[in-house]
């Protein structure tokens, strides 16, 4: 029961933004990330970019995962990135998932989205992608305490 490891669990906000009720995928990802040892804060449906960023701030999350199946990704995801910049939180890692065509994905990457996982991505590859980035994300303030 005693946690002896120096590294704290990575905290991840998962959110559905905009008018989009398709939450099956995000729930599957939420569970996989929990089972992989991460602390997942799921905010539920119909979030605004402002709500998502506020949740990441209050929860001290190092990662935001956005799920979109509505087609509004080219509006809503950049709005989240803008809000993060406005609040000096650009060090928060943003990834996205859902129905996002390759052309749009390339543009979102160039805007600062770290990775895009489309339907069919094995859950393990999302987990290992996050694990690779965990040390860098927690290396700044507050990560390990030993």
């Amino acid at each position: 029961m005693v946690r002896t490891s120096a590294s704290a669990p990575l905290r991840i906000v998962l959110a559905k933004i905009g008018l989009d009720g398709h939450d099956r995928g995000v729930k599957v990802v939420a569970r996989a990330l929990r089972d992989a040892g991460f602390e997942v804060i799921y905010t539920g449906l119909r979030q605004t970019p402002g709500m998502v960023v506020e949740a990441a701030l209050q929860e001290d999350a190092r990662v935001i995962g956005l799920s979109l199946h509505s087609g509004a990704h080219m509006t809503l995801i950049p709005a989240v990135l803008d809000e993060l910049r406005r609040r000096q939180m650009s060090d928060v890692l943003v990834f996205a998932g859902g129905i996002i065509p390759p052309g749009d994905a390339a543009e979102l990457r160039s805007l600062g989205v770290a990775e895009i996982f489309t339907p069919g991505t094995p859950l393990d590859s999302i987990v290992s992608w996050l694990r690779e980035r965990q040390p860098a994300l927690q290396g700044g303030d507050g990560g390990s305490s030993s």
Binding site: M1, R34, G37, E39, Y42, T43, M51, L57, G142
Partner: protein, 309 residues
Amino acid sequence: MSRAEPTASELVLQGVRGLARAISRIEDGDRDLAMALARGRSRPRVVGFTGPPGSGKSTLLDALVTLLRGQGLRLALIAVDPSSPHTGGALLGDRIRLQRHAQDPGVYVRSLSARGHLGGLTAQSADVVRALGGFDFDLVLLETVGVGQSELEVAQLADTTVLVLAPGLGDSIQHLKSGVMEVADVICLNKADSALAPRALSELNSILRDAPDSLWHPPLVGTVASTGSGVAELWSAIERHRTHLAAGEGDRRGRERIQAEVLELVASWARSEARARLQEEPELLSGSDPRVIAARLLERLRPQAPREP
């Protein structure tokens, strides 16, 4: 990597960001930070909410936050969810029910994983409350894991403990054997518009009627959190309990709270020292009577007990 961590006063100047970071550091065991944040500040009032999963705790808190924001209180809501016993991961979902207050600067919401701690809270809950005092919150609403039968720890930390029940989630014997009825200061039957509610209310009333005599009789309030019905009555019951505390009971609870935390600190110090000593000197484990070995070990540890910080 070796960047100096911000001090307590620097964190306070950063506002919400500083508070969020402070709580993470406290979760990772930074006790000194909690003490530094609390220094010279009064402890915020803590109202704890416990009860089985699905009784509507989060929805009730959402309705209560709406009511209290109308009174101008700055409040923090700390919601604890369970962690996976296998991987330590957690899925924290209490924010889903608190959407209405997502961007209200007068409300801070933090979801915490129990991180393997049993009892309904996290091992650092008392320090998290201290930290919130350092950031000038008037009131902390604390929501427990909600496992049903053993989340009694909240009563040690909260000034007022509210037990939230719902009709159809177990009969009166379950409430009695869990001991949770004994630690509750206020009892709330949520989903009071359900067809099963009248029976649940009469069962609860009879349990309360048969309770041993005491100065405080826990009131029973029916609520429908989804519509807000009964929430004002619930809050006035909590306020009546505050008045009761002010008449002397509060001081006694304060002493008990400190004693509980001291015992916890002593036990955790002794456990980690004993473990280290046994690793250095495995021969101390010789013999078959655990009590004899423990006494021998404690004798060895005594001279190394920590001095005052």
